[in-house]
Amino acid sequence: MSSCVLALISVLARGALLVFFPGGALPTFFPGGALLACFTSGAWLVADLLRGLGASQGTATGPAYRLADPPRLPAPRPVTDPDAEVDRAFAAIDAAHDDIARRAAAAVDPTTAEILRAQAALAADRTLRDGVALAVRAGHEAPHAVAAVLGEHREALIAAGGLLAARTADLDDLRDRVIAHCLGLRMPALPEPGCPYILVAVDLAPADAALLDPARVLAVVTSAGSFLSHTAILARARGLPTVVACGGALDIADGTVITVDGTAGRVTTGSSHVPVDAPRPVDFSSARGSTADGHPVALLANIGGAAELSGAPVEGVGLFRTELLFQHHVDPPGLAEQVAAYGEVFAALPGRRVVVRTLDAGSDKPLPFLHDGDEPNPALGIRGLRVARRRGEILRTQIAAIAAAARDSTARVEVMAPMVTTVAEAAQFAALCRDAGLPTVGVMVEVPAAAVRAAEFLGAVDFLSVGTNDLSQYTFAADRRSGELADLLDPWQPALLSLVALCAAAGTALGRPVGVCGESAADPAFAVVLAGLGITSLSMAPAAIPAVRAALQAHTLDECRTAAQQALAAADPATARAAVTRV
């Protein structure tokens, strides 16, 4: 192995920003000052470079293995022997049933087991077989018959609307499995090459993503998806470097060693001499976040429960999502249950700041007890704090529970509301919290209406927390789950930066904290810009904190400010990013 490759690996091992020079461009410096292009045997070390969007920071190198696509239906052929064709269909349904039943029996937690058992019951259903047999005798080949019958039932669910329409995935998954068995094709399951690998896929269903085992999967690359997809969010929670919206990813042959840079959104192939790497152990130090010249920027964790804090000393929690407590409930959880759950998190953070976000339901996070499915456009409907318009008692109970848990703990508990649009809403929320004995109250800035009135909001509440994911969605009128519009959802978009800058300036002028708790805070280069804009805290998945801390420590506050000005002045996201790497 050449010394050049060794140098590259050592840089990778420090989790630094990577800059490649596919066109043989001049080498540049990256934060920290190390030179990263190398000249060997008279040629630049140039690997094939694929660009995507960095969705979960960090780098990893290993062999790529592709998640099989759901099988496609072949062109229909005439049925010559209907009896044999019915047998073929039933055998495939049996095989799919056995698969699912086996997974149900192996499932550890009861909810997963019950869902899988119910799906197995679907596969065992007489109605399915009767329908398939009829369709086959009407001239459809086995896989087409299965697709047609399940398709009809799917239509019925869509027509029913509401929660049922959201459940078509059960039928789609069953259809894919039965078709695969009909065709004798491999099931779309996670690869098991026998060594740690990098998972390549079109996209991952949340169910697949939830199964990712960081001991086996080093990183994830998808051709679709966006920075804000569930794939990305689950990958960040697990500290798995991830690049999404990476065109060309599907052309990578299984077993090819690739390097995924989830920070810069790049995938390099052809580095076949680089050994397989395990994911970097996260180096947590108890040091507080600050710039090179000591300007403090609090580095906080985004969590959904106490479990995500295990083994990781953090300055505090900037976003405690309380939805997890609610999402498995058919009824809202009671006061005592909530007090216990919040108390568990507060006990893990003695003396430290914990920002609790009140229930953020609605839109992409429906809860059975809140929604009647009567909204034509849920993202613009009753979600976040707006739920209190219909169900005020849920918010009052939650605030009472947070206050009760806070009284029994030394954690510095603060509360904030999601999806706040007007100053009046913020003032009303603040009054509720302060009356309950919670003095420090903030609101999230997720809609442009709140960002442009940041100074007025800070007259009603103590702090702001900018949720860049939703702020992007609402500023750019682009669904956060849309892979096709991922470029609009890029946090480096100048319009988004302008809105964040407005909030930060209001905070600076009034001496009030303004943090960022969107996923973008986990991007080290973006964190430098945010610090330069005057953002006082950054909250992110715990695994992302060390890289952000290192990036801040590599810059003085003046350098951060210069980076922020250049990013704001840039014409587009790519220029903004490039400007910052030059600082």
């Binding site: 019950e114 869902i115 058992r117 119910a118 799906q119 019951a121 679907l122 259903d125 007489r126 109605t127 399915l128 009809e152 039932h153 019925a156 669910l157 027509a159 029913a160 609307g161 509401g162 929660l163 049922l164 459940r167 059960d170 498995h328 409930h329 058919v330 009824d331 059975p368 007890f369 499915g373």
Partner: protein
């Protein structure tokens, strides 16, 4: 004979609830069909068919069975539809 019942499950007749009801129906001594105001009758022991009724919380379900076992079987199944099975999950 016919029995009418309002679906109590607050999340509607979704997969897990349907699977439980179908399982119970399969154990009854007589076949039962279920229909709604706008969907044709389906066998109560079919998870897939029950789910495809698209019944939401509060939907009126019309159960039908015949023979000497019909009254008891209808009562038993109507009780299940009128029970909020989602509540048992909570």
């Amino acid at each position: 004979m016919i029995r009418t019942v309002l679906l109590a499950g607050r999340a509607g007749l979704h997969l897990r609830v349907a699977a439980r009801i179908a399982e119970a129906a399969a154990r009854l001594p007589t076949p039962i069909t279920v229909r709604t105001q706008d969907r044709a009758a389906v066998p109560a022991d079919s998870t897939l068919a029950l789910v495809s009724l698209g019944a939401l919380c509060g939907s009126e379900l019309i159960l039908e069975a015949y023979g000497p076992f019909a009254p008891g079987a209808l009562n038993e199944l109507a009780d299940l539809f009128a029970t909020d099975l989602d509540a048992a999950d909570a």
